[in-house]
């Protein structure tokens, strides 16, 4: 259980990286923006890659009637996410210590992992619905109004993951260091469960 507990502690501690590093990043490049405009999405708010990127993305987007990129206080998520991440990291570290001293079975680690997966999927779902809202809830007085072949207003939603052309802009949406640390951490907790279960079994035999 020694290795397993340590891995669990380490894995959940990696989540704390999200407090320092961006979770996600969306860039918008176009012929007139050879250095793409970019935003880094943190669990507590959105920041421009360069100092004035947010202002310039808002400026470009006002033609098609998109809302301004929200400030932290304008979205409940940016208040809740740090609590959830901090809570899950704390819980994971606690479980790791309990496992280290054999107070609990490694199945608790799996339990933590499954909970984290559920929260992660919910987070992605929420993020995606925000992107949909951001890309489709347009000002009716927008100066440029475009419709698709079926006559419906075009969606300017950036992709949740991957690369996509939006009018003259190419949008790239990919995880950043914070997310990679989280993925690595979650993977470690899964290994912690697996390693712990094996040693648990050996001991039982």
């Amino acid at each position: 259980m020694k290795l397993s507990g340590t891995l669990m502690i380490l894995g959940s501690a990696l989540l704390l990286g999200l407090f320092y590093f961006p979770l996600w990043n969306i860039t918008l490049g176009a012929p007139q923006y050879p250095e793409p405009l970019g935003m880094d999405i943190y669990i507590s708010g959105i920041q421009g890659e360069e100092e004035f990127d947010i202002q310039n993305i808002d400026g470009v987007n006002h033609y098609i009637g998109m809302k301004k990129i929200p400030k932290p206080e304008e979205m409940w998520e940016f208040n809740i996410f740090p609590v959830v991440i901090g809570g899950m990291a704390g819980l994971g570290i606690l479980l790791g210590f309990l496992g280290l001293f054999k107070f609990i079975s490694p199945n608790w680690f799996l339990g933590w992992f499954v909970l984290m997966m559920i929260l992660g999927v919910l987070g992605m779902y929420d993020f995606n619905s925000w992107l949909i809202d951001y890309g489709t809830d347009l000002d009716p007085k927008a100066i440029i109004k475009l419709t698709d072949d079926a006559g419906n207003p075009i969606s300017y939603k950036p992709p949740l993951f991957g690369t996509q052309q939006i009018l003259n802009f190419t949008a790239h949406s990919y995880p950043r260091l914070g997310a990679w640390l989280m993925f690595a951490g979650m993977f470690l907790t899964l290994i912690a469960w697996w390693v712990g279960r094996r040693s648990h079994k050996t001991q039982n035999i």
Binding site: E51, F52, Q55, N56, G59, Y63, I143, I144
Partner: protein, 651 residues
Amino acid sequence: MKKINSILSLLILSVLMIGCGGDDDRKKSGAMATNAAERVYVAPGEHDEFYGFFSGGFSGQMSVYGLPSGRLLKVIPVFSQDAEKGYGYNEGTKAMLNTSYGFIPWGDLHHVDISQTNGELDGRWVFTHENNTPRVARIDLNTFETGEILEIPNSAGNHSFAITENTEYLIAGTRFAIPSPQRDMSIEEMKGNFKGPLTFVKVDQETGGMELAFQVIMPGFNFDLAHPGRNASHGWMFATTYNSEEANTLLEVNASQNDKDFIVALNWKKIEEYINNGGGTMMDAEYAHNVYDHNSSTATSTMKKGVKTVDPKDIPGAVFFMPIPKSPHGCDVDPTGEYIVGSGKLAAELTVFSFSKMIKAIEDKNYDGDAYGIPILKYEDILGGIVKQPGLGPLHTEFDGKGNAYTTFFISSEVVKWSLTDYQVIDRKPTYYSVGHLMIPGGNSRKPFGKYLVAMNKITKDRYLPTGPEMNHSAQLYDITGDKMELLLDFPTIGEPHYAAGIPADLVKQNSKKIYRLDENTHEHSVRNESETRVERKGNEVHVYMTMVRSHFSPDNIEGIKVGDKVYFHVTNLEQDFDVPHGFAMIGANTAELLIMPGATKTMLWEPKRVGVYPLYCTDFCSALHQEMQGYVRVSAAGANTPLKWSLDGD
């Protein structure tokens, strides 16, 4: 008579030679063209290797070209009003063109020089000067805008200009001898009574700020070009003089009589020491000092008084005359500082002086008499060598750092490459036509970048499609990496490309600003966002605090202005995006537009003269809705009581 004959025959020979050379070159150009094109081709989106800063001569502006492509990158207004940028027209920059004679909206910009540290280009500033109303200026290479202009008092026709090798001083010598101080006197009595002040301007190493340090009151010769010593000769400066005859009429003949004129050799460190120890006397002077603040986009002009002057006779060992044949123009110091190349415009030879021999001659005190108490060194004692029959009308020499010198010849229209070791001519190439100065990037520093040479020509004739009697002057780019020079490109330039300085782009481009930061905008009347925009009346003055952003002004409807008001539009560009300026123009304003960079504020004065409703609009195509970027101002009669009102989108 014998001499004249030999010059004449040389002239004829030379003309023949050039004729042949020219034809030869043209025949080859067909086969050469592809290759040359490749070597100057900078693909779309790629950057040039060098910046070239070209003076605009009589245009009063400085232009920036990319080399080797010859692409015009920017025109920087310095001594002349420029309607394109509103320079000298808007309220923030008018003060830049103040002088002790009042507002002077034109001046001819002659020589340009890039700041140096330890004799190497450092890419911080470009300094330049004006001939007509003597002024010197600093252009800041983070903004590519003129940052400061200083008038030179008690001087006339500032043409002798140089920067010392740590940018300690700018040297500004008078081209025209004048009474000093100025006074009412007979022109005929000029000889012995006129003076030729050489001015030293101290440069602040942090800011580039300029300050009048002292003037050396030289005899009344005309100063032409100046050059600082470097390396071995650091602490000295050299300047050519012409009209040592001190003629005051028909100079083309009367100033060309002496077989030898002078190069002045001046130990400025010695004079600096003399001044620091309390030497020198104050002379009456009045001069304008104009400083532009890039954060407030506002120039302030201060009228200053008095200048510390020095009589060279009071500082023994500081100033000497070096005899040089026939009306010299250039005096150029090689990268080691040992060779001073003197170019007598009417001489058949090129004279190279040796600095170490000069020092020895001074130590030996074996002089060839004196002129106005200034010792004349013996020609033979200081001569390093002579380039024989190099061409006709030598003007200016620069160096490639590999032991070669390149000299332009005005009369024979050619560039000649010669060796500093054996004074032999290595190569000669024709220029089209009547070349003046030439430039090798860093070619006047300790570290030349000897890849390209640019020749600047006064006459263009048949080089381009004709455009009436006036053709733009031209510059020609040669590859100088091989033994033989190769003409790669010529391109038209703005005004007269009198002089140029080049620098590797890598030493400059990373410092170039992309925007002005709105949060650092200190303009007296700036606003930070649309909610602060407003209109205020103070008597018959109306101040409009306006913002611009793609694609509207705020406010865009203004009422309550009356005929006879002085309306100041203080317009702030709220953008913080690279290369997104907006323009502002107002019908009936007796001035130019405003061109406002992201984050900056500029002010225009408008004095409405007729009742009506008048549009204002953006002049710089900024966005898809640029054409809609407009507004209205209602002007009521002088006595009307229309309330002051302003709005954007009805509120």
